[in-house]
């Protein structure tokens, strides 16, 4: 599939279709964190179709495992983000060729759809922020995504990424510092 075709399909994708008020905590979780999970999967997959499949697989895996064991709603986001990461790594282990391709693509972003919903206001700032986020190293972008859009604590992020909380916090500070530097250079 060509990149233009992928983008056109992407643009035709409709927005949120679930009704968060009608369902269980799992429906609320999907409504609240579905987009964040997808953003996180895109950080790791570099292919939006794969990322969507990963989110589906990971979410359903968590649901099947924890639907009847009394898991509480505050625990769900970290479980789902961890499942996304596990699903990506699991898939990569099973396909070494694909892993090499994705690792090679990890530092560059080709004709990908936007990471974020286009802002009607301050489009210039929006674009500058997104460009700066894309240029971050993968590990910093991962922590930034989990903190800002996943709304996880450093402790939860450390669990998800299998790193120490200090490492995670350090990466987050480095990411913010790099972002600020890039934005200042861009405006000056």
């Amino acid at each position: 599939m060509t990149s233009s075709a992928a983008i056109s399909i992407w643009k035709n994708v409709s927005s949120v279709t679930d009704d968060a008020t009608a369902g269980t905590m799992w429906h609320r979780m999907l409504h609240r964190c579905g987009d964040g999970l997808f953003l996180y999967a895109r950080q790791l997959c570099r292919n939006d179709a794969d990322a969507a499949d990963v989110v589906q697989e990971a979410f359903l895996r968590v649901w099947r495992k924890h639907a009847n064991n009394g898991v509480t709603e505050p625990d769900l986001p970290a479980l789902c983000y961890a499942a996304v990461r596990y699903a990506v790594l699991d898939g990569q282990r099973q396909a070494a060729r694909r892993r090499r391709r994705e690792a090679a693509a990890g530092e560059t972003w080709y004709d990908q759809p936007p990471l974020f919903e286009p802002g009607l206001e301050q489009a210039e700032e929006h674009n500058a922020l997104e460009a700066a986020v894309r240029k971050l190293p993968v590990e910093q972008r991962e922590v930034l995504t989990l903190k800002i859009w996943g709304e996880l604590t450093f402790q939860q992020i450390a669990t998800v990424t299998d790193e120490s909380p200090n490492t995670v916090a350090s990466r987050y500070r480095l990411a913010l510092a790099a972002l600020r530097l890039r934005l200042e250079r861009g405006t000056s």
């Binding site: 992407w10 994708v13 409709s14 927005s15 949120v16 279709t17 679930d18 799992w26 429906h27 999907l30 579905g34 987009d35 964040g36 999970l37 997808f38 953003l39 939006d48 969507a52 499949d53 989110v55 589906q56 979410f59 359903l60 649901w63 099947r64 639907a67 009847n68 759809p113 936007p114 990471l115 974020f116 919903e117 802002g119 700032e125 929006h126 922020l129 997104e130 986020v133 930034l144 800002i148 859009w149 916090a169 987050y172 500070r173 913010l176 510092a177 972002l179 600020r180 934005l183």
Partner: protein, 130 residues
């Protein structure tokens, strides 16, 4: 976190992630319409050899104990009726010893209790007493 980054964090938090594609979301919702079944128990049993062994040994020992406590079906004297039972009991002895080992290894109950349950002398007493 350092306050100097607060404005930047605020700006970043105003970016909304692109939506999860509707087909993926619908597949998740569709899947969640079906209740989680008990297939996981079977998978767990088959996937965990220790658990499967414990369940198998427990079921087998229960069947043996229940079978020995059931009343004889015939009105003939026990000494005549129980000949085949004695033969079966003797044949079972080696497998009971093996079962005892397995039960001791995997069962949470004490080894003495397992030995008492599987003891051939106990089986003989039960058979002779009836």
């Amino acid at each position: 976190m350092n306050k100097e980054f607060d404005p930047l964090e605020h700006r970043l938090s105003h970016l909304r992630p692109a939506h999860l594609p509707a087909p993926a979301r619908q597949r998740i919702l569709h899947e969640m319409q079906h209740p989680v079944t008990g297939h996981g128990v079977i998978v767990w049993l088959l996937g965990h050899r220790a658990g499967f062994s414990a369940a198998l040994a427990g079921a087998f020992s229960l069947a043996v104990v229940v079978g020995l406590h059931s009343p004889p079906r015939s009105t003939h004297p026990a000494s005549h009726v129980d000949q085949p039972v004695f033969a079966a009991s003797n044949a079972l002895s080696p497998s009971l010893a093996f079962l005892e080992e397995r039960l001791t290894a995997v069962s949470p109950i004490g080894a003495n209790a397992v030995a008492a349950l599987c003891s051939p002398s106990m089986l003989t007493n039960v058979q002779n007493g009836r």
